[in-house]
């Protein structure tokens, strides 16, 4: 499951959704809003997504992880809108029979989401200005 959410991420509900009788390992990753980036003090983030394509690409990533690793359940949700320090911006969780697959699949999902899914963050700095981030990576 992959979704874009305008509402705060329901971490407890998502963890519950990973339950399976064969799940001996659960790995969850939370990406949270921090108060600095590249030497500047940050006091909030805004996220924007091309929702239709973001959800399609996110679901593709989840299916790729499912085919590469021996997992039970995979969920990933990314926020859009205005977030405060400490808010969960992205949540990825995987349950699996064993820990190696759970760690590997969770890492795969979050790395691919950050690299490929059409979501953008705008950093709001304590000085009052803001900037959209467009990293210098080569598009895939």
């Amino acid at each position: 499951m992959f979704a874009i959410s305008e509402a705060p991420i329901d971490v407890a509900g998502l963890q519950h959704g990973l339950e399976a009788d064969g799940a001996g390992a659960v790995v969850c990753f939370e990406g949270r809003v921090r108060n600095y980036n590249e030497g500047r003090a940050v006091n909030g983030l805004s996220y924007q997504a091309y929702i239709e394509l973001a959800e399609a690409e996110g679901r593709r990533i989840v299916e790729e992880a499912r085919s590469r690793f021996a997992v039970e359940r995979i969920s990933c949700v990314h926020r859009v809108g205005d977030l405060a320090l400490g808010d969960v911006a992205v949540w990825a969780g995987v349950s699996a029979g064993h820990r190696a697959a759970a760690f590997d699949a969770c890492r795969y999902v979050i790395d691919e989401v950050k690299a490929r899914v059409p979501i953008w963050k705008c950093e709001h700095y304590v000085e009052g200005d803001s900037e959209w981030l467009h990293p210098e990576s080569t598009p895939k």
Binding site: A49, I119, W132, P139
Partner: protein
């Protein structure tokens, strides 16, 4: 031809709108981007962008038809 453009992040700021209807003689996404970049002052070169037509990623040679929805996808920064 008429196209519907959606703009995100810094492209939205540069265009001054999140979407617009564009009447254009451009017949592929490459020509359309050149036209819009000139009009709106987009600074991204095409090699830094991906392009989507009607909700799916495609390539820069994609032939456009009337009423296509086109999105130039700037480098992403989720997470």
């Amino acid at each position: 031809m008429n196209y519907r453009l959606l703009y995100f992040a810094s492209l939205c700021d540069a265009a001054g709108c999140a979407e617009e209807q564009v009447a254009s003689d451009a017949r592929d996404v490459s020509a359309l981007y050149a036209e819009l970049a000139a009009r709106h002052g987009f600074t991204f070169t095409p090699d830094r962008l991906r392009v989507a037509v009607n909700g799916a990623f495609t390539d820069w040679n994609h032939r456009l038809v009337d009423n296509d929805e086109v999105v130039f996808v700037p480098p992403v920064s989720g997470g």
